[in-house]
Symmetry: C2
Subunit: 316 residues, 2 copies
């Protein structure tokens, strides 16, 4: 009775029927023609790399798998439209946990009105979820490569929370704002859409500001100066991790944006009206190096960022 | 030096640059508006479930990961356009094997003129590749649900080869036509496109004819009669596995098609002209049960199909 098809039905039952020409159940989904350009991204969460079953509820895992993909769409200024989900399940994975996982994913999908149109189940030694998500562009995509010298750098929300949450989980803590940020990242979809009216470049902060800013600078052919004293951090992060936490902590899923000076006033007004918190943390420079300035005005080199293959130990 | 980014570069270098507004390297790919409907599918191949590194070369693995997805597009009559590839790699996976894997995938992509537009790398305990592929429809999609009583059932190519290949690999054999079919399934893209002009229903044979025919019948609300003596098999399969091999052997990635009687002559002519081998193996019936008829005219019940969670042991 533990067949592939009962898993599929169990999973699908958490989601509303997709309003597309053909949803899950056939060899492919069929989607309507798209008037505008489409953004597509694929991202996976893997057991013991991006989550552990000891520290994440099934709902958390389902949420996070979709959130990291919606964050990529947000970063381009796209409106999420559909996604497919490939699930790899250990043979002993309990069916009721799969239902909870689907419900966590479905709640976030509902919030962003994005439709599950297809998927795949396979067995595997470890649980993983690989999602491909697509969004519609109404304006030109916000890429990493549009930044120019003199453009201001903004980040949304606060930084370092997800890393602090990870540390607290490892210490045995189970509740609190930082842990919630680690378990349930919130993709900045509305901000991405807003930013696409003003910003010259953008990306999401999945690997930590230090590393992600490097990607933006490289793609834009510029350098950057970041004022450490401007980095938005909660007092808990400031106390526990200091600047390094904000710079190196991955998985915040906030947005990093470059805004031309002539757009800054309108961008900040629009953010304030929309209730979106953004903070100017520096600017792009012609000199192609990244400079961090501490509150005493001293230059410090950018620390290495987050890289699954290099520096990140699994949660354990 | 074994960072995520060197893996990405190594992988991408096997593929030509995608002719889309924005290819790999940003948060999302950007695709042009689509005039027609789009088919989307996602499918994964997992180490020790769909392949073993002992029996599959890296090129085989890359080929198979893409082939199983293109086969789903073929089944709907779609022309492959783009795909994204999420790679989960054990930490000790050699970089040169990743290059070979990418080359195997790229060769098949080139053959079908389908563009790699994005991807993701993560570490994991076992190697897996999860691809999402999209194709363009020029006619209405060939679904599983369009079959009607009286429509003829066709299968392409020969059946049971991939299962025979799997058995031979387990016995220690390394070469031969059946092993090649297991390692390098050929998605029937041209046939799917052709069939969409004539057929009422279609799907690909990934789980074995017995099980897949059940899905087509269920979706179409019909039953079926299959003549075992008509099943196309090589003499090697006939000898080694008998009818059961053709019925139960998964992973052939041939097409199963239902064709209305008034289209049969034109369909067969078009297949002959195109050099596509198809064989009429039975017909759909009003009575909603599946009947197999052996060469002596005796009825036999359909055997259980291939199900990762139920019957399929890993290759070992």
């Amino acid at each position: 009775m533990r067949g592939e098809f009962s898993f599929i039905e169990r999973f699908l039952s958490a989601f509303p029927r997709a309003r597309v020409p053909l949803g899950p159940g056939d060899d492919c989904a069929v989607l309507p023609p798209s008037r505008g350009q489409t953004c597509v991204t694929t991202d996976a969460v893997v057991e013991d790399v991006h989550f552990t079953r000891a520290h994440f509820s099934p709902e958390d895992i389902g949420h996070k798998a979709l959130a990291v993909n919606l964050s990529d769409l947000a970063a381009m200024g796209a409106t999420p439209r559909w996604f497919v989900c490939a699930v790899a399940l250990p043979r002993d994975f309990p069916g009721r946990e799969l239902s909870r996982l689907a419900r966590g994913m479905a709640a976030l999908a509902r919030e962003h009105r994005v439709a599950l149109v297809g998927g795949n189940f396979t067995s595997a030694r470890e649980l993983s979820l690989t999602i491909t998500a697509a969004g519609e562009l109404k304006r030109p995509a916000l890429t990493r490569g549009g930044g120019r010298p003199g453009h201001l750098l903004y980040v949304s929300g606060t930084l370092g929370e997800a890393r602090l949450g990870l540390n607290l989980l490892r210490e045995g803590r189970r509740r609190g704002a930082a842990i919630q940020r680690q378990r349930r990242p919130q993709p900045r979809v509305a901000l991405g859409l807003l930013a696409s009216r003003f910003a010259s470049a953008g990306m999401d902060l999945s690997d930590g500001l230090a590393q992600d800013l490097g990607h933006l600078c490289e793609a834009s052919g510029v350098g950057a100066e970041v004022e450490l004293s401007h980095l938005p951090m909660s007092s808990a992060v400031r106390q526990a991790l200091g600047w390094e936490g904000a710079l190196e902590g991955g998985e915040d899923y906030e947005l990093l944006l470059a805004v031309p000076p002539e757009q800054v006033a309108a961008f900040e007004r629009a953010c304030a009206r929309a209730g979106e918190r953004v903070t100017a943390v520096g600017l792009l420079t012609r000199a192609r190096r990244r400079v961090l300035r501490d509150p005493q005005g001293r230059l410090i080199p950018p620390p290495p960022g987050f890289d699954h293959f290099r520096v990140r130990p699994p949660v354990d």
